[in-house]
Symmetry: C2
């Protein structure tokens, strides 16, 4: 067995006693071939361990065979994005595409050449220069969540139904919580915007006062502590806190404890973004599962479909969310 040189179409053709065209057709399902030939050739190819050369295929097809994944620098470290990346990589691979990480450009304007057929941009942030760069290069983009840039048009989009997600969470809390504070990031992403809007609407509809406290998208425990302290000083009192960002709720529980409030005995605490670390706590925290891995998968699948022409550009998919009720908001404690 001589594995010094990779097996090519020609090698398979010779071994099967046919031409390289026939091998190509047999393996790709194209052309006019009887099932017998197709199977015979396929068997030979498998036998020899043939694996198509991607560079040649890409050159011939005028593609790069890769899609990019981009998220803003500040999101580093959030479990959500890591999980999304894995999902996107899995799905891309299933479509014979490589998933290439696109690093945040350190000095804007000097973007290195991007050799990708398309890009997944997770949580586009208002004003991010990479969005312009991708548009200038005419690289098809699928966004995870909406791009709030005025006039922005992308090839596709997957969005979570955050409005419904937060409503379900609020409904769940409303039984025992009359004064529900929301710790939420700003309106430079559709994520923050939608949640704030839905929260305010829900408050209006149920005749409550909206109590919104700003925390950064990527938030330190310190930020959460401040917001919790401020919330607990609210005139009418607070009996429930919804901490929106990834990783914030743990700190919220901690901060509440320091303020003398016990969860869930005299204060309900829920996270919006769920993560494994919320499950393992002594008092597990209720959260909404916004399915990051599925988000990555769907975005990659959508982009792959658009690139191959199977899915119409402009398609929007909505991802359902699921409330995970845990001890931090349960009556029994």
């Amino acid at each position: 067995m001589n594995d010094s040189r990779p097996i090519t179409l020609q090698d398979v053709a010779r071994a099967a006693g046919v031409s390289k065209t026939t091998v190509s057709d047999a393996l790709s399902g194209r052309g006019r071939l009887p099932a017998t030939t197709r199977e015979r050739v396929t068997a030979v190819a498998r036998e020899l361990g043939y694996v198509a050369n991607r560079s040649a295929r890409n050159l011939r097809g005028g593609r790069t065979g890769a899609i990019g994944l981009y998220f803003p620098a500040r999101t580093i470290g959030l479990e959500y994005y890591m999980d999304l990346a894995i999902g996107a990589a899995e799905e891309a691979l299933a479509h014979d595409l490589a998933l290439t990480l696109v690093p945040t450009t350190r000095d804007p304007g000097r973007t290195p050449p991007l050799h990708i057929d398309g890009a997944v941009v997770s949580d586009p942030v208002l004003g991010d220069p990479m969005l312009e760069t991708l548009a200038a290069l005419r690289i098809p983009v699928v966004t995870c969540e909406r791009d709030l840039t005025p006039g922005a048009r992308h090839a596709g989009r997957v969005e979570s139904d955050h409005r419904s997600g937060i409503r379900v969470l609020l409904d769940h809390l409303s039984g025992r919580g009359d004064h529900i504070a929301l710790l939420c990031p700003g309106e430079e992403t559709s994520f923050g915007l939608d949640i704030r809007t839905a929260y305010r609407d829900w408050c209006t509809a149920t005749g409550r006062e909206a109590l919104v406290f700003d925390v950064p998208f990527v938030c330190d425990p310190e930020h959460v502590s401040h917001a919790v302290a401020e919330a607990l000083r609210a005139p009418g009192g607070i009996d429930a806190i919804v901490s929106v960002p990834d990783g914030g709720a743990t700190s919220a529980v901690h901060a509440a404890l320091q303020q003398g409030r016990h969860v869930p005995a005299d204060l309900l605490v829920a996270s919006y973004v769920d993560s494994p670390s919320l499950r393992g706590l002594a008092t597990p925290i209720t959260a909404v599962d916004i399915a990051p891995r599925e988000m990555g998968r769907r975005a990659a699948r959508l982009l792959a479909g658009i690139l191959s022409g199977g899915i119409a550009p402009g398609t929007v998919e909505v991802l359902p969310t699921e409330l995970m009720v845990r001890a931090s908001t349960s009556p029994t404690g």
Copy 2:
């Protein structure tokens, strides 16, 4: 300006009045060309916005133009790996290589074809089937940290000097802490092994009792709470805790508080793995900066060098660590 078709070498050649060979030579620095021609051609290329077709280059050169990045599934969500990935992507791009995420194979044995020239494996875990797969495909591997598999030989390695890192941390604590507990993951990675070994050696050398408590590599607050509770029940008492894993120290402080111990007043707490979330706390936590981004960069650079022949296979680089002293172990509190 007609940008319907990308600019090729031929286009530049025509525009500059030379042959495609000359353009290729001029841009690559190869061949025998006077500086004048080189500059003229380069100018024309820049003018036209020529960017080399990677598929063609890769096909010709017999490469894929990409390197893979792999880490075990369980590490998802750790800030360390996300940061490492970004560093690797940056450096790969600087070497004209794409960084492709290699997802953990869901069913082992059926690995999809990997179209990469080499791979960075961060924290190889004893028994991970991907290591075999890469070896079988003869894909050069640079590991971050050592591969403990007996007989394993890789193309290169970058390792942090954890032994020295933990010693420096212990020396720092030894002024006020006589009974130092170590919360550490197991010995299936060189990371856990080295830290345990160095800790035990240090304890022997300074005449202390070694107090090691197992926590998982990826650890929930729950795990940490248990370990802390157990540690605080140690016969001789405990006056300092070193929590090794990423993200564990915050929970350790929390758990200690619940046991009635205050940090740093009557208990010192330090993390081994540093992360941004340790800095922002009310009582920031002392930790060792093990420079994940630099680790990613170095690994990618080393792999790129080995692939291009500029660096000899078998090269090992050691990354220094730096102790970051913060309030959680400071005398003044």
